[in-house]
């Protein structure tokens, strides 16, 4: 829940994960290179590049940040600064699937919090963490615009409506 606290701890996480993760296959970097070339002559493309790089690589560890900074001829501090500002970008490896429980107002008044509590317990993870088996990353979303279906849960790109603690277990068992 408390993202500000998580944020302040992010820089150290980043440094650690950067040195620990072994480099991924070269081809992913060459894919990112292609993205950068596509945007090269467009002003203010850093965020778009980060979006596509995250899609290719899954997350944005230090090597990827350094690579993007060098390729775009930007200081690394700028790349890391932009990345840490936006909650959509992740510097930690992510699970196979991302569960995002909506806690927008409509979902909150209709009991979204109960689903969060239930998942914390049943998956044995905190908000923002990934399960031990690497299957799910568990996050809270600030309104996904499905207020007519509250409380809603989004798993990857699929929205599930009127979820209850009992229903979510059944949904997760399908993944």
């Amino acid at each position: 829940m408390n993202r500000t606290q998580v944020r302040s701890g992010k820089s150290t996480d980043k440094a650690r994960s950067g040195s620990r993760i072994s480099p991924q296959p070269e081809e992913k970097f060459s894919e990112i290179k292609k993205v950068i070339e596509k945007y090269a002559d467009r002003e203010g493309c850093l965020i778009q590049v980060l979006h596509e790089a995250q899609q290719i690589y899954g997350y944005l560890p230090m090597e990827v940040q350094q690579f993007i900074a060098r390729s775009l001829d930007l200081p690394l501090s700028e790349v890391a600064g932009v990345l840490s500002f936006y909650s959509f970008f992740s510097v930690k490896p992510r699970g196979q699937h991302t569960i995002r429980v909506c806690l927008g107002t409509a979902c909150y008044v209709r009991g979204g919090k109960k689903i969060v509590d239930h998942l914390c317990e049943s998956l044995n993870v905190g908000v923002g963490d990934t399960t031990e088996d690497g299957k799910f990353t568990f996050e809270i979303a600030r309104c996904i615009g499905a207020c007519g279906l509250a409380p809603a849960v989004m798993i990857d790109d699929t929205v599930y409506k009127q979820v209850t603690p009992a229903k979510i277990d059944a949904i997760l068992s399908r993944y």
Binding site: E43, H51, Y108, C147
Partner: protein, 598 residues
Amino acid sequence: MNIVRSHVLVCGGTGCTSSNSPEIIKQFNKELDKRGLSDEVKVIQTGCFGLCALGPIVIVYPEGSFYSMVKPEDVEEIVEEHILKGRIVKRLLYEGDLKEAKVATSLNDTNFYKKQKRIALRNCGVIDPENIDEYIANDGYQALAKVLTQMTPEEVIDTITASGLRGRGGAGFPTGRKWAFAAKEDNPVKYVCCNADEGDPGAFMDRSLLEGDPHSIIEAMAIAGYAIGAHQGYVYVRAEYPIAVKRLQIAIRQAREYGFLGEDIFGTGFNFDLDVRLGAGAFVCGEETALMRSIEGHRGEPRPRPPFPAVKGLFDKPTILNNVETYANVPWIINNGPEAFASIGTEKSKGTKVFALGGKITNTGLVEIPMGTTLREVIEEIGGGVPNGKKFKAAQTGGPSGGCIPESLIDTPMDFESLAAVGSIMGSGGLIVMDEDNCMVDIAKFFLQFTVDESCGKCTPCRIGMRRLLELVDKITSGNGTLEDIELTEQLCYHIKENSLCGLGQTAPNPVLSTLQHFRDEYIAHVVDKRCPAGVCKNLLRYQILAEKCIGCTSCARVCPVGAISGEVKKPHTIDTSKCIKCGACMEKCKFGAIVKN
């Protein structure tokens, strides 16, 4: 061109998609194929019809039969009975007036639609958003043609000014005036931006507009470009809206192919093109200066104004930024004239407003009403009231920048001035209904947690002040607050409002101030009686077993995770409050209503 005898419209908005509408479309095509009807009947995926709670929704024309909560296995029956034999499937019709009349007339006769006036949403649920021809057939790009061939930029701005259109993103600044400021600037490079970073929790009209009618936004932005002398536009849209992004990109590509974007539009020598920029999950980017920083690829931090964006905006060039819904009104105004628009609404708030109805209300979904419609009409008539026999307590408008309207003010007209007068704001149009089970202090805390998370940290009043404010309210909800804390809370709210840099901080204390204004007694109950009247705040809850109702079945004792319940079989049980963790499992389990919380 093929002439088809029947159209089947299936809602493909986010709501209905999650209720499996893609499967319904597949089934329709399969069943029609099987019967050799594919050439006679066309299945179309449209944008949102608005009635999300009853999705997926299917409408069959020419009859206009409005089927709700359709399941893939119902499709065969609709095809066999309705399309083949002409017999409407009554069991699937939307409940309400239609069913009683036994004839499926137009959906405008239902309570949900009767009071609505759809201008911004005119094409949502009517056309296929991924097909530019359908938009054109519904007068699409006619306004752009009229503007480019028959009007001067000044006339366009005068038309918008005369219509009285005000920004639909929240603040309600007159759109015509904004355009005039930017038009006045002498600079060969200017920009037109669209704010589709719909961050207010509880609002989803921008999403539905982009999903249901993306071309109207493109058309309006081109019109704005002509009016102020810009040749490039940007749509800044949330990455959390994948369907909206996809349809917008399709629409831009089609518009380029048809020559409505690009160079020499309609042979008039006017050039205009659009780019989509994805947001990345930062609420503050809904603020105009922060949004522009983000389009430029930087951290989305706001900056002081002036200079206003109309003078120095994106890439330091004159820029106008309007909300999605504002743009959606523009082509309609050009086509129908400013007088038609100005004739709707109240003296100072013209036209219509789209609200996202959510929370404890029967018909959740999207509604578009003339400005000045009362809250009571919206909740009781259009929304169908509060479900489960509960009592209406308050409606929250404006999200984290807004406030609550209590039951005593339910006859408040929904327009910019009236909402401000009762301590709330119009905002982007989220309308969350709360019943007696919602604690207003808890709701205020919910919004504070949101704004504390989303504060960008640039200015101190917002970064630190909001955190202190949250701590104070948290102290109250945990039962440790005093009457002085309530006063301190109020004072701090005013300090933050007055001293913050941008709209986020200046409005962030509003949820607290408005609940203090209308529900002060609940705050006092939390600090003086150490009680949460709605039974929400966990620390102040006490579960109790009513001895006269308890029959000693032991099911509560068995379900209690911490063993706080004891008692002999067939004798009344008791709860050890020192062990109780207030999970509520016992209350859910008890069949005799013997467990109460207070």
